[in-house]
Symmetry: C2
Subunit: 229 residues, 2 copies
């Protein structure tokens, strides 16, 4: 197909496609005639991947180039994970972290094979530092339970990767799952918070069946009443 | 203490403290003498909370004002959850979502008390849309397993909240946990990915004990060798 058809199929503007071509994110089409390139299914697939990574995953052009190079290389899946993690994660300088919080993370991860430079280890330590700076402590095994849940999620991630046949499909899923899995999980966490909150605080009350019975709609009602007053 | 001492104690510059005062995030100190306000422990605590929310939680000034107002109000905890969720979550217009993906989320959440406007429900649908647009399907119950893990995390969140005695402490934790819990979890997820990856792909090999045995350090080696070539 011509570039105009590629644009129509993927709903990506021609100018954007040309930009991705210049930036080396998308391979040039086959030259079917002088100055006329033909694009195929591989281009459609790659263009959709790029859009998802950049628009929803929040990866920049340089990051996209890095993970796409990993997908197109012959590196094993576990290396692709490392590159996807580095690309998707904010760079944190260990020197900016209080060693006590790194120790707390390492205690929570005891027995795990995690390298000191794993970006998640550093990000978890920074989050714990901020939670502590905000005056909160872990009273009921919060971090330990998060760690158990993270293991379930990572096992689900790896099972999906293992269910793919060829190397490139696996690598694409590693990148997509790393970039978009956080958004999926945090969304489900908010839904679960409302559910658990409703179960605990509204169990057996009329509110549960007769009207707004959960945190978000309660908050909405609150906002409405604020606006009215 | 004077404002200069408040600044020294919290490591927040005086100009920033004055900005927070003007924006109404921080209460004015008690006027001990004309033009001289005295600040106490409550100010130190509030200032640390504001910094953690804004600097690590990524909440803007307007968002911080909204959640602090919720903390200082007398609304019940479950309403504070709703406000914290709305503040921390990106606004998503349901009209921008393919209804099929909202259906998939609702199927995953079947039996849960979740309102249609829960921001997490919408965010999860958008993430699923992007994952699908990127050419990936759920082959091994990925979403279901994420949902189970989200329930563990939300239960841990609520248990921590319930462990606090007074309303304001609970409300502060709701806000801090909602804003910073995502970062903690995604960090632990990356660590868990490396661990599970190492367990599956390097089990019993020399690499596990003799050298870089995990995804991130393998990726680092790969980057090094790229830079050398």
């Amino acid at each position: 197909m011509r570039m105009s058809a590629l644009s129509a199929t993927t709903e990506v503007p021609v100018a954007t496609i040309k930009y991705y071509l210049r930036e080396g994110l998308l391979a040039r089409g086959d030259l079917s005639a002088p100055n006329q390139a033909a694009y195929g299914e591989a281009h459609v697939r790659r263009l959709r991947l790029i859009r998802a990574l950049i628009e929803v995953g929040g990866i920049g052009i340089a990051g996209a180039r890095s993970v796409l190079a990993a997908i197109d290389s012959d590196m094993p899946t576990e290396q692709t994970f490392g590159i996807a993690q580095l690309t998707v994660s904010e760079q944190i300088d260990p020197a900016d972290l209080d060693p006590n919080f790194l120790d707390r993370v390492d205690t929570a991860l005891e027995g795990w094979h995690v390298s000191p430079q794993n970006p998640g280890r550093l990000a978890a330590a920074r989050a714990l530092m901020a939670i502590s700076a905000a005056g909160q402590d872990d009273l009921r095994g919060w971090v330990r339970r998060y760690t158990e849940a993270a293991l379930l999620v990572a096992s689900a991630d790896l099972d999906e990767v293992d269910a793919r046949e060829d190397r490139q499909e696996k690598a694409e899923l590693v990148v997509v799952g790393t970039a978009l899995g956080d958004a999926l999980f945090s969304g489900l966490r908010r839904a679960a918070q409302e559910h658990v909150s409703a179960e605990r605080y509204f169990q057996g009350t009329a509110a549960r069946t007769d009207g707004p019975s959960n945190a978000t709609s309660a908050a909405s009602s609150h906002r409405d009443s604020q606006e009215e007053s």
